[in-house]
């Protein structure tokens, strides 16, 4: 099937392009890019006037909960949520049941995503067996079976020795290590950010230094081993500063943040709102400002959602009992567009952080609209307004702190391999 996307504003930082043009797609690849293209007969035309046409967005940090935790989400519902949010690719974290620490689980995910999913799914294998933090998983075979990175996401690799060896070993294989940087001793029994709000609510706090210290260790290990490293879900001003300084020294470190860390503060927890409970926790206004500055100056390479679906039963409980995490796939794009609206980010930067950079970090051949590239394309309507409601989220889970929010902007059309998988 052929597709012609007409009159859109093509924003593709991979080609340093920002201009109104047409895009012709045939056989799942981008055939032509230019003004006033004419379509061969049988071509479906999409009028993208007033819309942005960008390389398909990539969320490099999601939890699809499949296999094992399908009551929260599965590959079908998760990828449906992804395309509804404008994502053509997602990288899914290995804390499934069983953990993605072997070829069988990785292959299952890839197979099921191809057969029944709506977008590309790139599994992330675990660093250690069962993410147990004891012994390295078979990273070589994980890579061969299609994993694009390794991570024990949800927790750090506690042993500095093991982390050092994992970085060295993964570097030899050529697979990215993604770190969940947190000092668990400092986290303790904390359930929210440590600050005035935790004092007033009487909740145990998680101090910023839990993240800062762990980020420092990871950066120093990456520097010492001269191996690439990616830091997941940066939430503190300290971590931004540490990564900025490391980058200036030439350390091969990249990082991501999530939309909630540049949108919300720990004030959102007031009322003991379990949909504002996640790990790392929502921080304070100074951290939000630092995250925005880090995005703007390039310290933070990517925006990823840490999409973490949980069943109502796991959130509709006392605050301490509630699971950590929120869904994010369907609210990420409009929240990032808000940053563009307020001048914290340019449109080109947004596309870099949501498509170009994730593809580079994970080494997946995506993130570009160059002729000949796979036709993963997101058509973004910057004007559309909608209200976040449980009923209109495609994800199986509805644990969003943005329920009831009026948002502007979203995917008009999500095209995966030349096929329209979502249309608004």
């Amino acid at each position: 099937m052929n597709l012609l996307i007409k009159n859109g504003r093509i924003i593709d930082p991979s080609q340093k392009m920002d201009q109104t043009a047409d895009l012709l797609i045939a056989d799942g690849v981008i055939k032509q890019l230019g003004a006033n293209l004419t379509a061969p007969s049988g071509t479906t035309t999409i009028d993208a006037a007033g819309c942005y046409v960008t390389p398909g967005l990539i969320d490099m940090h999601v939890h699809l909960r499949d296999p094992g935790l399908e009551y929260k989400e599965d590959i079908i519902s998760g990828t449906r949520a992804a395309v509804a949010g404008g994502f053509t690719s997602v990288a899914c974290m290995p804390n499934t049941k069983p953990v993605i620490d072997n070829k069988a689980v990785a292959s299952y995910i890839i197979y099921k995503a191809k057969a029944e999913g709506f977008c590309n799914v790139f599994p992330v294998g675990s660093i250690t067996y069962g993410s147990g933090g004891e012994r390295m998983a078979e990273m070589g075979e994980l890579k061969e079976s299609g994993c694009v990175a390794v991570s024990d996401d949800g927790k750090p690799v506690k042993s500095s020795e093991l982390m050092r060896r994992a970085l060295q070993y993964a570097n030899g294989i050529g697979i990215m290590v993604i770190s969940h940087a947190e000092d668990l001793d400092l986290v303790g029994e904390g359930t929210m950010h440590e600050g005035f709000t935790s004092t007033e609510l009487g909740l145990k706090g998680i101090p910023r230094i839990a993240e800062d210290i762990a980020t420092s260790r990871e950066v120093l290990l990456a520097e010492y081993t001269n191996a690439p490293l990616h830091i997941a879900h940066v939430s503190t001003a300290g971590a931004v500063r540490i990564i900025r300084e490391a980058k200036a020294r030439g350390v091969k470190v990249t990082c991501e943040t999530a939309p909630h860390y540049f949108t919300l503060t720990d004030d959102a927890v007031r009322g003991y709102n379990t949909n504002a409970k996640m790990n790392p926790p929502l921080r304070e206004a100074t951290d939000v400002a630092a995250i925005k500055a880090g995005l703007k100056d390039g310290t933070i390479d990517a925006i990823a959602t840490d999409h973490a679906p949980h069943h109502l039963d796991e959130k509709d409980v006392e605050f301490n009992e509630a699971m950590n995490g929120i869904v994010g796939l369907e609210t990420s794009l409009p929240l990032a567009l808000k940053l563009v609206g307020e001048g914290s980010l340019t449109l080109a930067q947004l596309v870099e952080k949501m498509a170009v950079n994730p593809s580079k970090i994970l080494g997946i051949p995506r993130g570009t609209l160059a002729v000949g590239a796979v036709a993963d394309i997101t058509v973004i309507d910057p004007q559309v307004e909608w209200t976040v409601e449980a009923d209109n989220l495609a994800s199986k889970s509805k644990n969003s702190p943005f329920l009831g929010w009026r948002l502007q902007g979203g995917a008009r059309c999500t095209i995966v391999g030349g096929v329209v998988e979502f249309q608004r």
Partner: protein, 310 residues
């Protein structure tokens, strides 16, 4: 004045007038407690469930007696020996209890904010008998009543609170209440036990030493310290704690000569307070317990809509 709240979960949610109303009602309830026949029919036909997820002798007994003196039917449940150990959620437990048509659930729970969670699920009144490190409003009220008995007022007083402020729901309720009534609170404890932003909680001064806090104080509230809770990383041991943050006859002299000494109990004699102080003339600890019944009668009475007391 009419008390408009269906629930009493935190003194943070009440204004000065509402606190005054509860205290003045408690004063009239105290008269009942001094009678030969300590019972009035005010809450006859009302059912009160005392749901205590954390063990408690004093508070639970006090609420039970308060309910009975007002002729309510009171039932005590300690879920550690019922369904909670079978894995039933708090919401399910509450909904099942609710099906039996109670008028008030008085709950103590280890998780801060549990009462707000519960209040969204049920249509009876909820009274907080202590939630995590958040609030303990009946304790705050009985502390204020005890202070008012002594000084005849609650404004312009210097109140010292000494101990583990971070983990204390008593401290938070005292700070909320006393700030609204116009007193100034001086908190002291090892820096490991003083939470960030404590001064923003109310009219609070955070002191570096116990001496600063209790110097010329009108009231000293000592908090319970437990080796098992604070022992791991917050302090070396109770011996050293007692040296720097224990109240004894010597440092008590720093306070005003007629200063009031209080403690929410249970006391660790020889740790946060020496027995000479506990049993000394300035100690009002048992007076606090006595006032506890009156205050809780007032709370039960007002969440049931007030009306005449005989």
């Amino acid at each position: 004045m009419v008390f408009r709240h269906k629930h009493i979960i935190a003194l943070r949610d009440l204004n000065k007038e509402e606190i005054e109303l509860l205290l003045s009602t408690a004063e009239s309830m105290r008269e009942i407690n001094g009678r030969d026949i300590k019972k009035v029919p005010t809450l006859r036909g009302k059912t009160i469930i005392n749901l205590f997820y954390e063990s408690s002798t004093r508070t639970r007994t006090s609420f039970e007696i308060a309910g009975k003196r007002l002729s309510a039917d009171t039932v005590n449940i300690a879920p550690s020996n019922s369904s909670a150990t079978k894995g039933e959620t708090l919401a399910d437990t509450a909904l099942n209890l609710l099906a039996m048509k109670p008028d008030i659930i008085v709950m103590r729970h280890a998780v801060s904010g549990s009462h707000y969670f519960l209040a969204n699920k049920v249509n009876c009144s909820i009274i907080n008998a202590g939630d995590g490190a958040h609030e303990h409003p009946s304790q705050g009220l009985l502390d204020m009543l005890t202070i008012k008995d002594k000084f005849g007022r609650l404004d312009g007083l210097k109140v010292a609170i000494v101990g583990d402020i971070t983990h204390s729901r008593v401290a938070r309720s005292d700070i909320q209440g006393l700030t609204k009534m116009g007193s100034q609170i001086f908190v002291a404890g090892p820096p490991t036990m003083v939470p960030p932003g404590v001064e923003k909680l109310g009219n609070v001064v955070a002191c570096g030493t116990m001496k600063e806090a209790i110097q010329d104080a009108d009231v000293i509230i000592m908090l319970r310290i437990q080796q098992e809770r604070q022992g791991k990383t917050l302090m070396p041991n109770t011996r050293e704690y007692s040296r720097y943050f224990g109240l004894n006859p010597v440092n008590l002299k720093l306070a005003k000569p007629d200063a009031l000494v209080m403690h929410p109990g249970p006391i660790n004699r020889g740790v946060e307070m020496s027995s000479y102080v506990v049993d000394g003339p300035q100690s009002h600890i048992l007076k606090q317990v006595e006032n506890g019944v009156a205050v809780r009668m007032a709370m039960l009475y007002h969440v049931c809509g007030g009306g005449s007391v005989e």
